[in-house]
Amino acid sequence: MQADRGAPPPVELPPRRLLWSVWLRALALQAAWNPQRMQNLGLVAALAPWLRARGPAVPIVRRVCRRHYEFFNTNPYFANFIIGGLMRLEDESLREGGRGARQVVAFRSSVARAFASLGDQLFWLGLQPSLLLAASVLAWSGRPWVGLGLIVLLALGQLWLRWRALGTGYHLGLDIVDLLSRPSWHRLIRASQRSGMVLAGILAGVYLEALAETPPGGIRAALWSVGAGGVCGLLLHRRLPGELVFLLGIPLALVLAVL
């Protein structure tokens, strides 16, 4: 079969060994996290094996490092889409004698922001609370190791996602924007957040059931729980850390212990 005349040439991925080196370093993207430029050192350290493999002249290495040593922040689970895309764009820029540098910087900044928002919604606000609540409910019902197994499964899944993301990012290059606009991401976010809410309800049910079955608990413990939950809600709304809210419960518990 003859290929379309207008179709772009197929993209050849970098060698597997090089991708593996970049993947390993990208796992430590946040190792040097700093409040001023966040993940910049991690990003350039992840790109270092690629840069060495390409072996450009020192002035070009300096230019590439300078470009990416600026502020960089994204969600770590999605970062490899960007790193793969940057490798592709930098490859093209090297082939064209250093042109397209502005496009590379614009790509990095805009895609990093979009993936940060998407990844935070999916991982930090969706999957993490849901998974940890599922593991907690399982632990409460006497199956803590099943809960731990779930966490291990998700850990393996995210490592696989990071590996795939590197190749996909390289393959798509600028077209990664199409990947970002897929509605399936938002369906996944909604589903994971709703499952978190349902699991919170299940946790409350399991907890109330345990209280009902514990003789010294009874009405006092139930009242304590409902009242404390209300106060906690107010304190958490003020963005206090959970540990501090828990410690602020001591005076409340003291009052109840006296009654």
């Binding site: 796992l27 430590a28 190792a31 040097a32 700093n34 409040p35 430029r37 050192l41 350290a45 270092a48 060495r52 300096r62 490092c65 040593y69 770590p76 609370p129 940890l132 609540l133 593991a135 907690s136 632990a139 803590p144 190791w145 966490i151 291990v152 998700l154 850990a155 995210q158 490592l159 709703r194 978190g196 809410m197 349902v198 309800g201 299940i202 946790l203 409350a204 049910g205 907890y207 059931e209 345990a210 514990t214 010294p216 729980s225 404390a228 906690c232 958490l236 963005r239 850390p241 959970g242 540990e243 501090l244 809210v245 828990f246 419960g249 001591i250 409340l252 518990a253 003291l254 212990a257």
Partner: protein, 264 residues
């Protein structure tokens, strides 16, 4: 200038206390202590710096620490309520996350290695045992809050090391940046190790022995305290997603759980 009397005061109060706490740690079997320190090192790396597999979250960390010491049930007794307490501490941007790993590993290690078998959350248990769980959770929360300050200092140090990387922008040696990244990883691992041993020393030598001296009323209050963890988790989730949006789903889950319990 430091007044000459202050050193005497420190020697009279702080030093014997620390010496007693240190002696408590030395009296523990060395192998579990070494394993706990190693676990704290690995999980501290996992928390933010490397891979972020969520095995460093309090529930799995507590369970693993308990299993290493030979009492996974006590690991679960501490890990589960602390997980619920910190459920909404999300590592988004620069928001608060605490330093949970060393705190929970040392809390579990201290309790198990001194022979405290703590009861599971909201299960029938003598008041003294339930109070000991509350007392341990208070320590774990305090350690986590104190550790967060250390994490902030560590991150400020990262900034200084990152500035060192600017030399690469002049000579083009990318290996320097990888070495700096490795240095940051080593610092995080070391922080996990040191904090775990420090918290373990305080737990064994000071915090747990103090429990025997608490008044009965405070013990009764401490026995109630762990019951705060599940309502706190539900409140955190409601606040995270917005109650207007969340209440139907939470109520649905609650109804399903109660119906299931009633049918069974």
């Amino acid at each position: 200038m430091i007044p000459p009397g202050s050193a005497t005061v420190m020697l009279a109060t702080g030093a014997p206390l620390l010496a007693a706490a240190g002696a408590g740690l030395l009296a523990l079997p060395w192998l579990p202590v070494a394993l706990l320190a190693l676990l704290a090192m690995v999980l501290s790396l996992d928390e933010t710096a490397l891979a972020q597999t969520w095995l460093s979250q309090p529930l799995p960390a507590g369970l693993l620490a308990g299993a290493l010491c030979g009492d996974a049930a006590t690991g679960l007794a501490i890990g589960l309520p602390f997980q619920l307490v910190t459920l909404a501490n999300l590592p988004v941007g620069q928001t608060f996350t605490g330093e949970k790993v060393a705190a929970v590993v040392a809390g579990v290690g201290g309790a198990v290695l001194t022979g405290h078998a703590l009861p599971q959350l909201a299960r029938l248990a003598p008041e003294a045992a339930a109070g000991a769980l509350g007392w341990t959770l208070v320590a774990v929360c305090l350690f986590s809050l104190a550790g967060h300050k250390i994490v902030q200092i560590e991150r400020s140090t990262h900034f200084l090391w990152m500035l060192e990387g600017h030399r690469t922008l002049w000579d083009g040696r990318t290996e320097r940046l990888e070495r700096l990244q490795a240095r940051c990883l080593a610092a995080t691992a070391l922080r996990g190790l040191v904090l775990c041993l420090l918290w373990l020393t305080l737990m064994v030598g000071f915090w747990l022995p103090l429990y025997a001296l608490l008044p009965a009323r405070l013990v009764r209050a401490l026995a109630l305290l762990p019951l705060l963890a599940p309502p706190l988790a539900v409140a955190a989730l409601g606040d995270l997603y917005g109650w207007r949006n969340a209440w139907r789903w939470i109520a649905g889950g609650l109804t399903a759980a109660i119906l299931l319990a009633w049918r069974l």
